[in-house]
């Protein structure tokens, strides 16, 4: 019955479900639980509370089958209503092993969320230990039981890369920034007490213990999803000495089907990164079988290189040697990269690695033609060698010599270029290389015209580097070689080569003019020094390699998001620890949403007084430029359309009830204006004059009412009086169209001047020092120019540019001020990942018809902003207000939309046969395009309901990029539904 999906019968269905939920038969109760999500799917708001009540009844059931189904209903209907769980928590835990396997998966997730929200993280768990500041607090704190410290010492060795691991744990939790800011001023005694209260002891706390106890048998389940879910609970909550429990079951899963093998490996990879010691004894489980799929192979390789220890490295290398000879050359290349990684992590084996890699390059192995796949391995081998050498160039003299010797036999252009680079970079190491390099250069100079372009670049660079480093006799030779090459490059076919040659000549002009090196040394004036320094700086730079891609985003183990590396719609991190308080529990059905209200909102609310200056000045200025064109356009429309609308309007209102006919915004306003005119019984010519100004005023109103939200980046209390706020700018970024520009305001609230203010990307320095991770998909922050000084009371505006790549998690930045570091967070706003796309109504509806079906999604919400205005208008406006109420709704809706998202207002339509006070059918259309890929995104807002009551707004988005569209839809619905802060 519930599957019929008819709105009309839903109350009947609900009654039936309620009755069935108390049925004596288990099967009937189970079916009732299954029916609940379907009823809820009809999105009838009035039913929600009744549905939740029934879920509560069903969760209370004694039969495991019913509980499983009820758990499924719970997650799909009200996943945040944790008090509902609290009532039955203990019983649910006990019943867990008996629930059928699919229900177990869901129920485990719910229970984990509840425990975290209610009791906080377990103190002994790996997650807690990874927030380093808590350590210090705990030590001084009252609860320093020796037992605990012992464990900690034991495992501190085991956990490497705490930085990375801390990030993992932080990204699991929601609302972590609050704690981080608390932790930053840990001198505060209050803070430390607050923090320690967040943690509960899994040894002493009953609820945590019972959860762990009941989930551990599930590690033996035959269903891989259950095992992984249970392992996730242990990973987050279990004390560290018990965490090894999850290793064997996880590894057992590797024997299941190919598909689940991949998913499990993805999760193991994260575990292994955080705690390599966990999997270190089990290296042979990650040895590669030839029947594995390529993705599985590369994951196994990555895990192997992560968990390699001094003891196991020799075994692993022996394996790698076999892999290198694998017929799948792509995989062989990956292996070579993994060897390079291992060598970097364990420097003592670097020598052996390099020798092994050199054997690959040696001419003997290179005879298998120059097929594409072979070249991949070769290039990778040289890249790996280069990375290893970079760590300690002095000790790798022989490999460099070997490489240079083999330059003749290597024909792949990228590989050649790389060897030339190595030669140039390390031309002064040891005794032999300085002698070899000029010879090689001479040889290269001869073959210069026939080299491929990449190699040409590197030859030029290498020659310049040699020149900078050489002395005496060599200097002259080097100079001759370089000038010869530059001469050749001048007439090269490729313009880039020519340009580079020209730059080099200019940079190094001092060397060419001064015929002798002694002269250069004598010439101590700046004219020569600057280019020399510059040249040295330019050539001192390293070429970035992009082998290692460290994935910096972590999601909960076992979640879909962890596999696809972005937050899937509906993904939620764990709730804030201890966000669920006793009072929430007492309140029962009232969700913990109260605590969820973001502190940023509160901040921005309190700061809105100051903030509104900016919005008044700069925003109206900026939007006006945008809107001016729009204004003139609609103005023009108004003029041209007015002839038609006269005819309509001059008729009595009852005659214009053609349902299909919709009016454009211009028409609407002229119609309203006209009604006014008629009310005052003026002639038509006068009403024309009236109409045009009225249209202009209304648009001016909207642009003045657009107030983009201002968020706080740094609060003065934490930043020693420095206040930093930001808002998303409506203007496109000046650097690149795909960047989002953010206006940032620095204000000095303290009495001392401040200096050297700069915002930098936090991750660039803190994470994984040596490795150059440049993943394509993560937010990129374009560095801003430094503010040298900021006087007390002064405020400065800077525009920063960020490329978010559609990530919705906060971007972590570091704010430097007076050489002090303040970690801050920039919250992305999806509403500004788009830019206005100017289009008219026809184009809009045409585009809309092209994006049907799966590109279209709708959600509805209630809208209340207009109420205050309509009400006040009603009091003093009298008769005319009833006509204006439509306009007020339009205005408040449009201004709300435009102040929260960067959109273009296409049209405002309303049905002609609208009844008094009935706003149903009012339709606003907006258009925008996504910044990064210029895919258009169409938004229509339909309004239903009475003018004087909260309106039901239904938002529809048509967009090819579904994930983006859904996220945007959620955002729009959220801000539409939230009441206005200042009236």
């Amino acid at each position: 019955m519930a599957g019929i999906r008819l709105h009309v019968i839903s109350p009947l269905v609900l009654v039936a479900v309620r009755k069935c939920a108390r049925d004596p038969s288990v099967y009937v109760r189970k079916c009732a639980a299954n029916a609940l999500p379907k009823v809820n799917d009809l999105r009838l708001e009035e039913n929600t509370s009744a549905i939740i009540e029934i879920i509560g009844i069903l969760l209370n059931d004694n039969s495991p089958g019913v509980v499983g189904a009820a758990a499924a209903a719970f997650t799909s209907i009200c996943p945040n209503n944790l008090p509902l769980i609290g009532r039955n928590y203990k019983r649910l835990c006990e019943i867990l092993p008996d629930v059928e396997e699919w229900g177990q998966i869901i129920l485990i997730g719910i229970l984990l969320r509840y425990v975290i929200a209610r009791h906080g993280l377990a103190k002994e768990s790996i997650m807690a230990s990874l927030l380093p500041n808590i350590f210090s607090n705990e030590k001084t704190g009252s609860e320093s039981d020796t037992d605990y410290l012992d464990i900690k010492k034991k495992y501190e060795i085991g956990i490497e890369e705490t930085e990375l691991a801390g990030m993992v744990s932080r990204s699991y939790l929601a609302g972590q920034d609050k704690y981080l800011s608390v932790l930053d001023n840990n001198s505060d005694v209050m803070a430390s007490e607050h923090v320690s209260s967040l943690f509960t002891s899994s040894k002493h706390d009953e609820s945590v213990k019972i959860l762990l106890h009941c989930t551990s048998p599930l590690l033996w389940s035959r269903n891989s999803a259950v095992v992984l879910a249970a392992a996730g609970v242990h990973w987050i909550m279990a004390p560290m000495e018990e965490i090894s429990k999850i290793v064997k079951p996880l590894l057992f899963l590797l024997r299941s089907s190919d598909a689940s093998k991949y998913v499990v490996l993805c999760n193991i990879q994260v575990f292994a990164k955080v705690m390599p010691s966990l999997f270190a004894p089990n290296i042979e489980d990650f040895f590669i079988n030839s029947s594995d799929a390529y993705q599985v192979k590369s994951l196994k390789l990555e895990i192997l290189s992560t968990i390699a220890t001094d003891a196991s490295i020799s075994v692993i290398f022996q394996e790698f040697q076999d892999y290198v000879r694998d017929p799948d050359r792509r995989f062989a290349a990956d292996t070579v990269a993994a060897i390079g990684l291992c060598a970097k992590r364990n420097p003592q084996v670097a020598k052996t690695c390099v020798e092994g890699l050199l054997a690959l390059i040696s001419p003997k192995s290179n005879t298998c033609g120059f097929a594409d796949d072979e070249a991949v391995v070769l290039i990778q081998a040289i890249t790996s060698i280069k990375d290893i050498i970079k760590q300690d160039p002095a000790s790798h003299e022989n490999p460099i010599i070997f490489l240079i010797r083999n330059l003749d036999t290597i024909k792949v252009s990228v590989a050649r270029a790389m060897i030339v680079w190595i030669g140039g970079e390390y031309n002064s190491i040891g005794n032999i290389i300085p002698k070899m390099v000029p010879v090689i250069l001479r040889f290269l100079a001869r073959s210069f015209p026939s080299e491929p372009i990449e190699t040409k670049y590197q030859i030029l660079n290498a020659a310049a580097k040699v020149l900078l480093n050489s002395k005496g006799e060599d200097f002259d030779t080097a100079k001759n070689i370089l000038s010869y090459m530059l001469e050749l490059a001048k007439f090269d076919l490729n313009y880039d080569v020519r340009d580079r040659a020209r730059i080099l000549r200019k940079l190094l002009s001092c060397y060419f003019t001064s015929s002798r090196i002694e002269e250069k040394e004598k010439a101590d004036n700046n004219e020569i020094e600057i280019p020399v320094l510059l040249a040295e700086h330019v050539f001192g730079e390293n070429v970035k390699s992009s082998i290692e891609t460290v994935n910096k985003r972590f999601y909960l183990p076992g979640s879909l998001s962890q596999i696809v590396f972005h937050a899937a719609p509906g993904y939620e991190p764990l709730p804030e620890p201890c966000s669920l308080t006793e009072s929430d529990m007492v309140k029962g059905l009232e969700g913990p949403d109260q605590t969820e209200v973001n502190d940023s909102d509160v901040d921005s609310g309190s700061l809105n007084e100051e903030g509104s200056y900016y919005s008044e000045d700069s925003v109206t200025a900026s939007t006006r430029t945008d809107d001016e064109s729009a204004t003139s356009e609609t103005g023009n429309n108004n003029n041209t359309d007015s002839l038609i609308s006269f005819a309509d309007v001059s008729k009595p209102q009852e005659e214009t009830n053609d349902i299909s006919e919709l009016m454009s915004k211009g028409d609407l306003e002229s119609w309203l204006g006209d009604n006014n005119g008629q009310g005052q019984s003026q002639s038509q010519s006068q009403s024309v004059d009236e109409r045009i100004p009225s249209a202009r005023i209304s648009i001016g109103d909207i642009s003045a009412r657009i107030k983009p939200n201002i968020y706080t980046l740094l609060d003065p209390t934490y930043g020693n009086g420095l206040k930093v706020e930001y808002k998303y700018s409506l203007e496109a970024s000046t650097i690149s169209p795909s960047l989002v520009s953010v206006d940032t305001f620095f204000q000095n609230c303290s009495s001392d001047p401040m200096s050297k203010l700069i915002l930098t990307d936090e991750d660039s320095e803190s994470v994984d020092q040596g490795s150059s991770e440049s993943q394509k998909d993560e937010p990129v922050f374009v560095p801003m120019e430094e503010i040298t000084t900021l006087e007390p009371g002064q405020s400065i505006k800077r525009v920063i540019h960020v490329h978010f790549h559609h990530h919705l998690l906060p971007l972590k930045l570091t704010l430097w001020c007076n050489d002090q570091k303040h970690p801050v967070k920039l919250r992305p706003d999806i509403g500004y990942f788009i830019k206005p796309l100017i289009m008219n109504l026809d184009a809009f509806s045409q585009k809309e018809s092209q994006l049907p079906g799966m590109f279209e999604y709708t959600r509805s919400c209630s809208f209340t902003d207009h109420l205050a205005e309509v009400a006040s208008d009603d009091k003093d406006g009298g008769m005319s207000s009833t006509k204006d109420s439509f306009l007020i709704i339009c205005q408040s809706l449009a201004s709300k939309m435009l102040s929260n998202a960067n959109l273009h207002l296409v049209s405002v339509n309303m049905p002609v046969d609208a009844h008094l006070n009935d706003a149903s059918g009012l339709c606003l259309r907006f258009s925008g395009e996504i910044l990064s890929n210029s895919i258009p995104c169409l938004i229509s807002v339909m309004v239903y309901g009475n003018c004087f009551e909260p309106l039901n707004a239904s938002v529809k988005i048509n967009c090819e990029e579904t994930v983006f569209g859904l996220n945007l839809l959620n955002r729009i619905v959220n801000f539409l539904a939230e009441p206005r802060l200042t009236s």
Binding site: R5, V26, Y27, N34, P37, K38, D41, S63, G65, A69, A72, E100, W102, W220, R222, S224, A225, V227, L228, A229, K248, P249, L251, R255, S257, A259, S260, Y262, V263, E284, F287, N289, S290, S291, A293, Y294, Q318, D322, R325, D326, P327, A332, S365, T367, C368, G369, S559, L560, I563, V564, H566, A568, P569, G570, E572, M854, F855, E960, T962, L966
Partner: protein, 416 residues
Amino acid sequence: MLQCIFLLSDSGEVILEKQLTGHRVDRSICTWFWEQSISQPDSNFKVLPVIASPTHYLFQIVREGITFLACTQVEMPPLLGIEFLGRVADVLSDYLGGLNEDVIKDNFVIVYELLDEMIDNGFPLTTEPNILRDMIAPPNIVSKMLSVVTGNTSNVSETLPGATSSCVPWRTTQLKHTNNDVYVNLVEEMDTIINSDGALVKCEIFGVVEVNSHLSGIPDLTLSFANPSILNDVQFHPCVRFRPWESEQSLSFVPPDGLFKLMSYRVKKLRNYPIYVKPQMSSESGTCRLSVMVGIRNDPGKQVDSIVVQFRLPHCVSSANLTANHGTVNILADKTCSWSIGRIPKDKAPQMSGTLVLEEGVEQLHVKPTFQVGFKIMGVALSGLKINKLDLKNLPTPAHKGFRAQTEAGQYEVRS
């Protein structure tokens, strides 16, 4: 939760579409998927099991040429989707006696009925094969005849299966068998990696305890092992009680009716492997001589059957000429070379030898193929696991008990 399930044939055609929720998923997603999987360089459809398409997240598994595809738009545990698809595939092949395009098209009614029972509103419902058998009769000639004659096409039974309401959801309540018997079968698979130096890198056994029970009433069984300590890790059927295992390492359970996997286990770090393969390769001036010897290494005490040695010829081999002194050598179109030996004769050691001709311009072969070995040994469990005893309780009449064991090769690989 899952929104839609598609079954695709090996040519990318949509065999079956099952919408699960009110939010319809357009078929165009399959076209997109197929284009993606074809565009992969190695055309074995080895695309990722979890794919983020522009509109949906897709889970896929491939069974015998049929691609099972599930779509969702929201966050959910990916293993839930994958595991469920695996169950669907198992149940379908169980019902239809194998999986291929034709057999699915012939039995559309049954497949849809099964899916209806197995998943509801995107959430898995009943996946236990025994229960499904009670609800939906498997196809057979009689039922086909009946449906043709009577015009009644439904296979869904009228009554609800009793098990849905009992506390043991995997067993129907009133069962009567004339002759009660229960068979326990240890099926083990051996995974071995022998590296290019001939050294043993890894040797493990993955075993399954299969039970085939035909017992009346609600029997209570206890199975105990003589040496449970060798087990490295275990996975249980839901019917196994955890407590007795934790305390005394014995399996106590109420069995489902028919054949089921009671438990699977793993034994690690074994030293003895039954078969050796010694490949030798030497290449010069465009040809490569290959000789492979196979023999018994550690005699398991029973006859080793159906020995097969398989390997893939490297890409740069243009032709191969291989002969064996025992058994037959086949080279398939996809450059897979398969040498089926069968049993090893007493008088001579099987040997395969011949030359591989390399492609133009290639002097030496520097990639080494991996040899995969298949074999079967009846009557012995190589892990050494021994069943101590099986106790039957709560039975109206005494039952017949039987035990068997066998070992097969799993991923038994020898690198050259």
